[in-house]
Symmetry: C2
């Protein structure tokens, strides 16, 4: 294993130190392991908190900032944050209007966020939870009952954060997050496995010319293993898998996220974007907005995931709203 780390057990601590050094506008508590907007808590503003295992950067820590998350709580690599950590993040951003948790659907995350929500409730804070389960590839998986939460997380966090920023109440913020999740589907394809710092070896083995369709963001098994194919064919497969589950037509302007898994260079993601645009064009689905880059990654895995969100006027407006985080920034 060759990685730019010091110690497999210290990766999250060191990366948090790097976030603190690079982004003085964020408050990083390396003891509690939370990343918080410097101006939190803001009285009267609904707080938006997310978290989960590390190894998916920029998710979640680099999505903290104006118009998106108020705080993030990163667990160890591919490991849920502990309830105390989620509670600390929740309390750090609670400004009297309640807090919305954005939780990817993995059993550990769901349990620990729920426990933290109960603890917060005992201390007088209102908490609502939004579950993200957008991955159409498999029904249940290694770590999940039901669908996994993957690429749509960035969409849910963006629109919920935007509504919270503009004064939405806790029910509205949670509601729009749930709507974004309901209208989003994702499908991922891996060219290589990822290697966790602790294990030091790839999470699974793929042959020299093999790829895996329908992978999750932790190297969980997908639907099928097959030979590598041209990007156009893979784009076709990903679009088909999504549209089979959520039909879109010419009246459904889509947000398209072509997301890199961490080890794939941007030039390849643009090639995929080109093919996704062609395939959607052939099917008559208009692309209203798009995002191409590494947003919800799986350590050093090579590959991509495609997320399509069926926008409506509200989601489009909230997607376009100003945002200022390390990894997503526009309009201000």
């Amino acid at each position: 294993m060759k990685k730019l780390i010091n110690d497999p057990a210290g990766v999250v601590r060191d990366a948090l130190g790097g976030i603190a050094a690079a982004h003085p506008q964020l408050r990083v508590d390396t003891e509690q392991r939370i990343v918080v907007r410097a101006d939190a808590p803001r009285p009267g503003k609904v707080g938006v908190v997310s978290g989960g295992g590390s190894g998916h950067e920029p998710l979640h820590g680099a999505f903290v900032g104006i118009g998106m998350l108020d705080a993030a709580c990163p667990g160890e690599v591919f490991t849920s944050p502990v309830p105390d950590q989620v509670l600390a993040a929740t309390k750090a951003v609670e400004g009297g209007a309640g807090v919305v948790h954005v939780v990817k659907n993995y059993t550990g995350d769901v349990l620990n966020f729920q426990m933290a929500a109960e603890l917060a409730h005992d201390e007088g804070a209102k908490v609502e939870s939004v579950l993200v389960d957008d991955d159409v590839a498999v029904q249940d998986s290694l770590y999940t009952a039901g669908r996994r939460g993957t690429g749509a997380t960035v969409v849910v966090e963006k629109v919920a954060g935007a509504l919270a920023e503009s004064g939405g109440g806790i029910g509205q913020v949670a509601g729009v997050g749930r709507k974004a999740n309901e209208r989003s589907r994702s499908f991922g394809i891996a060219l290589t496995a990822c290697t966790t710092p602790a294990a030091g070896t790839p999470t699974f083995e793929l042959g020299e010319d093999e790829i895996e369709l329908g992978i999750g963001i932790h190297g969980e098994p997908g639907r099928q293993r097959r030979k590598i194919a041209p990007a156009g064919e893979l784009a076709e497969l990903a679009v088909a898998a999504i549209l089979e589950d959520m039909p879109l037509d010419r009246d459904d302007p889509a947000l398209v996220v072509v997301n890199g898994m961490g080890g794939t260079p941007l030039v390849e993601l643009y090639v995929v974007m080109n093919d996704v645009a062609r395939v959607l064009g052939e099917r008559g689905v208009p692309i209203a907005r798009s995002l191409v880059g590494n947003y919800v990654t799986s350590l050093d895995m090579a590959g991509f995931s495609l997320t399509l969100t069926r926008l409506d006027e509200e989601l489009l407006r909230l997607w376009d709203a100003p945002v200022r985080t390390p990894a997503l920034r526009w309009g201000m």
Copy 2:
């Protein structure tokens, strides 16, 4: 070789198609192979053009936009753009005030940009050229007489673009670009080689536990091959190599760019940033600004480069100025 491509010969064409699909605010001419700001040419504004081989994305195409480049001309992978292409980009942005070329120091790039500048001159356009040669690792290299142009390119393009946006004349824009280059130094470390689509095999071989110090952005040889070491040690090495060439002290606020080579995930870059900040702190060098992510890449190479720029008031102001490109965006 597993890559998200359709055809090794069509990577640049397809990626340009993806840029066009993802960024409707840019004008992409896939025939001429240029990416141009939609509002170019702007009368009275100095145009800023850069280009070079593809495989370094987001450099240069995704740095086109308000406050940075007016146009980019990507060559084939690791291959200089042809003079006609550079000329087309130059003419597309020439608004009567002249055009500044930002050229990385590689023999082919230098020759082809020079030829294009002469052709543009014959057609009545003033062109000034800024050469980027920031890499302290080696004096000459496979493709270069003198030092290679690497990570500092993003700094030069940003500050020159900002000055052009705010109405600077051609001499001023070129001058500030040259100043940024003179005050910048870079050093890169590879954990793996990269694989070009055309060759299909890695450009060099590194053992399971080997790294190469002082690599360029095309897999050119560096200074030394050695065993992998903790990130802290590598950060120390990179800082030392740079400061040996350009001493910095407490009166030299630095811009720090921790740049991924394309195959390294963000979490590792933040670990490196943490160590770079520590090392600079020990040496008393204040960090004024920083940038962590994949900006000047080398296809799928794993590793990082460090760029330090000795800021002055003008460079700091121009770095902070609003910018709106696909890959770099703030202040608007």
